[in-house]
């Protein structure tokens, strides 16, 4: 039985999809349910844990989030909230998409929540045509069908193309 308290100071190495290695304190890694489960089931005997879906830039962001939240778990929630909004403040859509994918893969619920909310806040006032491009969605409506859906809620399109 591994004791997480006893091994508190242990570090593990995470490897990004593009081959960069990150040395992480165990209590920081435990913010991720995926890593927690791996550590609990002792799957982590390997020296390096590969994270083949996450590039180095994204992994660095994820670990920054985890470190702040691991270190501040007993401190005030308000401080974390302002960290979270500052953390995502100037992030572009591509970075947010990578972040939400990484948070989903590593099972970091708090990060998934704030990243998904940030994306929602960014797109909520955009025209649907632009949202299509952002999400790489192909329009499968005929012009008539699209017009019919639009007509059902004409008011929602006021001020939109």
């Amino acid at each position: 039985m591994a004791s997480s308290i006893e091994n508190n100071n242990e570090k593990l190495t995470l490897k990004s999809s593009d081959g960069e290695e990150f040395l992480v304190e165990k209590h920081v890694a435990l913010q991720s349910t995926l890593l927690q489960n791996m550590l609990d089931s002792d799957c982590s005997s390997a020296d390096v844990i590969p994270l083949p879906k996450i590039d180095a830039r994204t992994l660095a962001l994820v670990l920054g989030y985890c470190k702040k939240h691991a270190d501040a778990s007993s401190s005030k929630q308000g401080e974390l909230n302002s960290f979270d909004s500052e953390f995502l403040k100037d992030m572009d859509m591509g970075a947010l998409f990578n972040l939400v994918l990484a948070a989903n893969f590593m099972e970091i619920k708090g990060l998934l929540d704030i990243a998904a909310q940030k994306i929602a806040d960014t797109i909520k006032d955009k025209p649907h045509q632009e949202v299509r491009e952002i999400f790489h969605v192909e329009n499968d409506y005929t012009p008539e069908e699209e017009a019919a859906v639009r007509e059902e809620n004409r008011w929602a399109f006021e001020g939109f193309p």
Partner: protein, 273 residues
């Protein structure tokens, strides 16, 4: 190039690769993440984004998505994120933005459109008339309105004093939106004229103040179980002239006071002040 024999291995490696960034907006997201993002949007944006494609349209109408959206919106304390549109009261064509919170947590004394507009967005302009409860003439009636999470349905509670019986007999009936009919329930042992307000919806139950001669009690009706109970009252001071129930951040609160001062009590955890 992968040969026939190691194609399985090659495929799994490919699956682990990040999809190449198509453009500045980054990779494609799987459906569960699309749903996670859309469930955090205001109703008005969702109505527009039905035009994005057919699968988004189906997702936004899916009962599970509607329920997730409702529950996320009702715990979101940032007012701007859970506006929805509905017709309020009798003001003709007065369509206004108001919070989903208001629908779930405030009372309604008339039959507004009970559907969350996202369920039937093309119908939200119309208000819904409730069917007759079967009694010919009511001398007095009171109503409450709330949402039963266990069956994902809205309920109207009616308290009726029947004049034909010539006495203060109270019948309690519950209307459910889905069945579109009334059902009689029992267990309200109080006089109707002592029932204050229109029901305050907290924790799956409607709450009323019932005043009796010199004292008062708070009565709750659990909307799932359809049973009445008495709720603990705050330890308020004597000499107040008025009292009223309200909802603050999902907690039941009571305001009581007189012309000089007022006390506000909030149940931080349901059952304790």
């Amino acid at each position: 190039m992968a040969t026939e024999s190691d194609s399985t291995c090659g495929e799994s490696e490919n699956a682990n690769q990040i999809p190449p960034s198509c453009d500045e907006f980054g990779p494609n997201l799987p459906p569960e993440l699309i749903a996670a993002i859309l469930s955090r949007l205001p109703v008005k944006s969702l109505l527009r984004f039905r035009c994005v494609c057919k699968s988004w349209h189906s997702l936004i109408f899916h009962p599970k998505f509607v329920k997730t959206h409702l529950s996320l919106a009702s715990i979101n304390t940032d007012y701007t994120h859970h506006r929805l549109l509905l017709r309020c009261g009798y003001r003709t064509n007065d369509v206004k933005s108001c919070s989903l919170y208001a629908v779930l947590h405030e009372h309604s004394d008339n039959a507004v459109e009970l559907d969350c507009p996202i369920k039937t967005p093309h119908r939200y302009w119309k208000s819904k008339s409730l069917p007759s409860d079967g009694t010919s003439c009511h001398y007095l009636a009171r109503y409450g309105f709330g949402y039963d999470d266990t069956i994902d349905d809205y309920k109207v509670v009616g308290f009726f004093g029947d004049v034909s019986k010539g006495r203060y007999e109270v019948e309690v009936k519950v209307y459910t939106l889905r069945s579109d009919s009334w059902k009689k329930i029992g267990g309200f042992p109080h006089n109707l004229s002592t029932l204050n307000g229109l029901g305050t919806f907290v924790n799956g139950a409607l709450h009323w103040i019932v005043t009796m001669k010199s004292n008062m009690i708070i009565v709750s009706l659990d909307l799932a179980k359809e049973t009445f109970a008495e709720v603990l009252q705050p330890d308020y001071r004597d000499g107040h002239w008025y009292e009223t129930l309200f909802v603050l951040n999902g907690c039941l609160g009571m305001l009581c006071g007189n012309n000089a001062c007022a006390d506000i009590w909030v149940m931080e955890q349901y059952g304790t002040y």
